[in-house]
């Protein structure tokens, strides 16, 4: 199969962003930092995910998950 770690990072990007977004709203809700001050975290997380996508091997990982 042609699954690389890079593809995994890319596929995970959406869900991770979604969970982060929920987390930030939950913090806002719980009376911690307000979303208006924590939203840059979203950019940072997005950047990190892109970085992972670029930095991780693109070729199908031979030792990972191959059937």
């Amino acid at each position: 199969m042609n699954n690389s770690l890079s593809a995994l990072a890319r596929a995970l990007r959406g869900p991770v962003m979604m969970a982060t977004l929920g987390g930030l709203f939950a913090i806002d809700q719980g009376g911690g930092f307000s979303f208006s001050s924590t939203w840059p975290v979203l950019i940072i997380v997005f950047g990190l995910m892109k970085l992972a996508e670029a930095g991780l091997p693109k070729a199908p990982a031979a030792n990972q998950g191959g059937m």
Binding site: N3, R10, A11, M18, L24, F25, Q29, S36, G65
Partner: protein
């Protein structure tokens, strides 16, 4: 939504669970639940998707190009908006949806506060007129000969200078003319009147009447011997120690509360909670109040008319409470008339005559002392229970067309007919007590010691009124609001 994803079913289950919990336990509010826990839905959603993807990866199956589809993002953003809206709604006014907009407003700019101050001579003036579209007003009385106003205007704007410009368009006026003192905040002159509000603290002479018109904001008036008239689109009203008549006409309200009023009270429009206590004058309510309605100690005839119920009585030394399809009352002086589509009625210690006509609902009567009031009760669908004082002389006829019939009282006999039956007193002396249900049980029994004083108001006695927050010491600029960036950020992210 991706085929085979477990996320959507999970969300459906969660939503179903919330609504089910709400139905089984009505004191839980769906809105407060969702407004509290909706971010958890996002977290759960993201985590479940991530889990699914990891699982797919470990199984070596082909990975999707992106973990979340555009449709899912759209749903998430929609959920965020709804959640944020509810959160704001909860934060700003747990009781009323009208304040939803306040949060929306804060999306656009920050609040800037400007102090307000003014006074005008009240010599020869008998009436105060408040014209303030948005904002709260608190009126107190003192031994003064002038009307004194302090307060603040809040302008929501992007910048200091824009706020200033808006504020400058609205001259604050306190003028005295033709026997009345007029307070005007002139908010209609500012564009987009949703973005300004003025909270006022007003001191007036003790004999002055007050007339207030507004679109949105609370009124709290204490201690005047004059009349009160309040007209607003959306207001909470709290009145105390009022010597004159009270007229309140609101299109929407979270609470109307009047305590110790010497004059008449007239209420129109709609709202949630309504509390009237120690009213010396006649009470007329032609309105639709959907929350708790609470009357206590009304000295003159009172009439309540809504789309569902009509209730009137002559005097109320005790209390009457209407809430959630139930009317409970004690120490009510008749003639009492209650007509309603759906209502359970429980009355104790009523005198004179009682007439109840309801379509659906149970009726429980404990007349208390002998002689029993002349009573006519009719319900189309519901049980009737009558607890009579011992030795009461009455001409009783209680019947059901279909239902159980039971009597545990001396001097009455049961006749069963078809699927129902009749209870009649042996003698036909004394006041006529006629109760009938088309469908439901009828019970006539002797009052026991435990019947006395069992129905108490389960509302806390005489809640202290919650006045609108007193304006904080005015500061020129108070950027306190959270400027919420629209949660459109993730959308852009996804497009890259």
């Amino acid at each position: 939504m991706r085929r085979g994803s477990v996320v959507f079913p999970f969300i459906l289950i969660a939503l179903g669970g919330i609504f089910l919990a709400n139905n089984l336990n009505p004191s839980l509010s769906v809105i407060s639940l969702i407004s509290k826990y909706w971010p958890m839905l996002l977290i759960l959603w993201g985590t479940l998707r991530a889990g699914e993807i990891l699982f797919t990866y470990l199984q070596g199956k082909p990975l999707p190009v992106s973990g979340l589809s555009g449709g899912e993002w759209f749903l998430a953003v929609f959920l965020s908006f709804v959640g944020l809206g509810m959160m704001g709604y909860q934060r700003f006014a747990p009781n009323f949806p009208g304040r939803f907009a306040v949060r929306g407003m804060e999306l656009f700019g920050e609040p800037y506060d400007y102090p307000l101050q003014g006074k005008a001579s009240a010599v020869g003036a008998t009436k105060l007129v408040i014209e303030n579209l948005r904002g709260n007003a608190r009126v107190v009385t003192a031994d003064v000969t002038e009307v004194q106003v302090t307060g603040r205007t809040t302008v929501r704007a992007i910048s200091d200078s824009e706020a200033r410009r808006t504020f400058d368009k609205m001259p604050f006026e306190v003028t005295s003319q033709a026997g009345q003192v007029l307070i005007r905040t002139n908010q209609e002159r500012a564009t987009g009147d949703g973005r300004v509000s003025a909270d006022l603290d007003i001191t007036i002479p003790k004999t002055m009447s007050v007339e207030a018109r507004g679109r949105y904001g609370d009124f709290d008036i204490t201690g005047t011997s004059g009349n009160i008239a309040i007209f607003s689109d959306n207001a909470g009203v709290r009145l105390q120690e009022i010597g004159g008549n009270v007229t309140i006409d609101l299109r929407r309200s979270d609470i109307v509360r009047a305590v110790n009023v010497k004059g008449m009270v007239e209420i129109r429009g709609r709202g949630d909670d309504l509390e009237l206590e120690n009213i010396d004058g006649q009470v007329t309510i032609v309105a639709s109040y959907s929350g708790d309605i609470h009357f206590r100690n009304l000295a003159k005839p009172a009439r309540y008319e809504s789309s569902n119920s009509n209730i009137s009585f002559e005097r109320l030394p005790g209390f009457v409470r209407l809430a959630r399809g139930e009317l409970v009352g004690s120490k009510v002086v008749g003639p009492i008339r209650i007509t309603s589509k759906t209502k359970d009625v429980r009355l104790s210690d009523y005198t004179n005559t009682l007439e109840i006509d309801i379509d659906r609902g149970d009726v429980e009567l404990r007349p208390g002392k002998s002689p029993v009031a002349k009573t006519t009760v009719r319900t189309r669908n519901g049980d009737i229970e009558l607890a009579l004082p011992s030795g009461a002389k009455l001409d009783l006829k209680a019947s059901t067309q279909r239902g159980e019939i039971e009597a545990d009282y001396p001097g009455v006999r049961i006749t069963k007919e078809g699927r129902g039956g009749t209870i009649k007193s042996d003698s036909a002396q004394g006041p006529v007590v006629q109760v009938e249900t088309n469908r439901g049980g009828v019970t006539v029994r002797g009052a026991t010691a435990s019947d006395a004083g069992e129905w108490v108001e389960d509302l806390p006695p005489a809640k202290a009124p919650v006045p609108p927050a007193s304006p904080a010491p005015p500061a020129l600029k108070m950027p306190t609001a959270k400027a919420l960036p629209a949660p459109a950020v993730p959308l852009k992210v996804q497009q890259q």
